[in-house]
Symmetry: C2
Subunit: 343 residues, 2 copies
C-alpha cells in the first residue's frame, strides 16, 4: 500500500493532538510526518508511534520547500485563510478544520459517511465541518434516506474542548476555585475568564462564537448552512447553541419533522445500520448516551428516540459524540482515507 507524507498544522492544540492520535490509531499510511504550529510552539516535542518529533513553525518558506502530500490543519480561521491556498497552489491536499473554507461552493465539506463523493483529486482544499454539525448530520443521514427530513429544531449542549485547550483549562481552573471555597462562592472572578466569554464552571453560556446580524450566533448559523450543504439544501434547520461545563462530548436535543409517517422500528433499524453510529436507547435500564461515556470514543451515539405527538411526523433524538474525535480529528482523518482512495 502506498504511504503518504503528512503534516499536521496546529499540532499542539486540542484538535491537533487528537489528529496525531487518530493518524496513529487508525493506521493511516504515513511514510513521513511533520508537526507544525505557530512560532510560540516551535521546538515543543510531541510523540508519534513512540518517537519524539519536534514541532516546526508553519511559514510560507516551509510550504515552498516541502514535499508533504496531505495536510491536516486545525489552526484557526485566519491561519487557514492564509496558508491553505499556499498548500493548494503546490497541489498539496489541505483538510482544514476551521470555518474559513466550508461555505465556499467549490470546496467539498465532507462527512465521509454522507458525501465522500464530493472529494476529487483536483480539489486541494477540503473543509472539515463544524463539530456540532458533523454528529447531527451523521446521525440523521440514515433517517433522511428512508423518510425525508423537512425541518430540524436543535438545542445543543457543547463541551468546552470545542473552544480549544485554553477553554478546557479555564473550566478546570474555575471548578478548582469554586471547590476550594467549598461552594460558598459560586462566581469566579473576572480575571479567571478569558478563553470563553463568561464563567462556565457550574454555569451555562448561551453563546458559542460571535453574534451575527440576525441575532443568531455564528455557531448556530454553521449548523443551519453546513447541514444544508452536506445533507440536503431543502432541509430547514434552526438552532440554539449552548456551552455547558463538560470537558469532552457534545450533546444535542434534536426535534425533526419528517415528510412521511414512519415507525420507531424503521428508525432504529436505520440508526443501527448507520455507519459509525451506536444506538443506546434502553430506557428500562436507564441507558442513553451521555458525554462522559462518549469521551474518547469514535462513534456517534443516539438515544431517547421517541415520537413527538405535538406535530405530525415529528420525532425527538438525543445525539452525543466526542467533539474532538468525530467532531474534528477523526472526521478529518476519515476524509484523508477517502481522499487517498482517489489518488
Amino acid at each position: 500500500m502506498r504511504k503518504f507524507r503528512v503534516a499536521i498544522v496546529g499540532a499542539t492544540g486540542a484538535v491537533g493532538r487528537e489528529m496525531i492520535n487518530m493518524v496513529e490509531k487508525l493506521n493511516f499510511p504515513v511514510s513521513e510526518i511533520h508537526f507544525l504550529a505557530s512560532h510560540r510552539s516551535k521546538g515543543k516535542k510531541l510523540k508519534f508511534k513512540n518517537e519524539e518529533i519536534e514541532v516546526k513553525e508553519l511559514t510560507p518558506e516551509f510550504i515552498e520547500k516541502t514535499d508533504v502530500e496531505i495536510v491536516l490543519m486545525s489552526a484557526g480561521g485566519s491561519t487557514s485563510k492564509k496558508y491553505a491556498p499556499l498548500f493548494a497552489k503546490r497541489k498539496i491536499y489541505c483538510i482544514d478544520n476551521s470555518s474559513a473554507w466550508r461555505m465556499v461552493p467549490e470546496v467539498p465539506l465532507v462527512v465521509p459517511e454522507i458525501n465522500a463523493h464530493t472529494l476529487s483529486p483536483q480539489k486541494y482544499i477540503i473543509a472539515n465541518p463544524n463539530c456540532s454539525t458533523i454528529q447531527m448530520v451523521q446521525a440523521l443521514y440514515p433517517v433522511h434516506k428512508i423518510a425525508k427530513i423537512k425541518r430540524i429544531v436543535v438545542a445543543t449542549y457543547q463541551a468546552v474542548s470545542g473552544a480549544g485547550q485554553k477553554a478546557i483549562l479555564e473550566l478546570q481552573n474555575q471548578a478548582r476555585k469554586i471547590v476550594e471555597t467549598n461552594f460558598e462562592k459560586i462566581h469566579v472572578s473576572r480575571k479567571d475568564i478569558s478563553a470563553l466569554p463568561q464563567q462556565i464552571a457550574f454555569n451555562l453560556i448561551p453563546q458559542i462564537d460571535v453574534f451575527l446580524e440576525n441575532s443568531f450566533t455564528k455557531e448556530e448559523m454553521k449548523m443551519v448552512n453546513e447541514t444544508k450543504k452536506i445533507l440536503d439544501p431543502e432541509i430547514e434547520v434552526t438552532a440554539t447553541c449552548v456551552r455547558v461545563p463538560v470537558i469532552r462530548g457534545h450533546s444535542e436535543a434534536v426535534n425533526v419533522e419528517l415528510e412521511r409517517e414512519i415507525s420507531i422500528e424503521e428508525i432504529y433499524k436505520a440508526i443501527r445500520n448507520g455507519e459509525n453510529l451506536v444506538l443506546i436507547d434502553d430506557i428500562k435500564n436507564l441507558k442513553y448516551p451521555m458525554p462522559v461515556d462518549a469521551h474518547g470514543k469514535l462513534p456517534t451515539f443516539v438515544g431517547r428516540i421517541r415520537k413527538d405527538p405535538s406535530r405530525k411526523n415529528c420525532w425527538w433524538l438525543w445525539i452525543v459524540s466526542d467533539n474532538l474525535l468525530k467532531g474534528a480529528a477523526l472526521n478529518a482523518v476519515q476524509i484523508a482515507f477517502k481522499l487517498i482512495e482517489l489518488l
Copy 2:
C-alpha cells in the same frame, strides 16, 4: 392587616428552606409559624426572623390538633397524597409543591401572574407547578396574550437542586473528587452516585424523573400537561429535559410557533411589561440570562429572542430562573399572598 398561622412541611429540604426565606423576605403576614418534617429531621433547629424554631414531626395527630391556617408543603408525592387531604378536611389550606395533586381537575394549579383567579376559598388543596413549567409559562404568558402560541418545542438545562439537597451535595462531592485527581479521572465511582440516576459532575443526564410508557420522562410530560392546564389547553408542547452540572437555575431553549405575525418590538414590549420578568437581551454587550446570575434572584430572565426563519411565525427564547425560588418556594408564597386576599 390580618396575620396567619402558617406551617412549612418539609422545612429542612432544599425547597423548604427557601420557603422559610421567602415567607420572611416577602413579609408574609405570619402570627405563628411551625416547621414540620419527617421523623428523621425532628428536633433540628431552623432560623426564622432571628429566632430558632424546632422542627416537629408531621403526623396525623399534629393535623388533628393544630390551629394552623395555611400550609406550604414540599415533602414529596407520597407525603402529599397522605397529608394534604387531612389538612383539607380540617379546612386548612395546603399549597403543595409535589406533583401529586397538580393534574386533579378541581385542584387549582397556579402561577399567580397567570391564573390566580382559579383560587377559591372553598379549594383547600392548591398545587404549585413543576419548576421547569413555571418559568416557561411565566415568560410565555405575555407573548401568548398578544399572539396565540400554537406549539412549544423546548429543551431544558436543569440544575441539580431541582432534585433536592442530596443532589446538590452529590454534584459537589463528585466535582471535588474529579478536581482532586486533577481531572485525570473523569468518571466517579458508582458509590458516589445515588441521588441522581447517573454521574452529573462534568456530565449531562438526559433523564429527569422516571420514564413513562410513551418513552418521555415524567418531567417532560409535566411540561406538556401543566402548560396546557395553566396557560391554554390548545397549546401543543413537546420537551426534552436534561440535568446539567449547575447548582441552581434552570435554563430553557424554547422554540414557539405563534398564530400570527408579530415584530420583535412587540415581543420585547410584552416581556418588559410582564410581571416579574426581566429582559436581558443585549447581545452586542454579550448580555443574556445565565444560571449563576439567576441564583438567588426572584424574577425570571428572558433573552436571546430571535425570529426563527425555518418556519413561519416561529421564535426562539432563552429562559432562566432560580428553580428553588420562582420554580418552587417563591411561587408557593406568591400563591399564599393571592389566597389570603380571598379570605
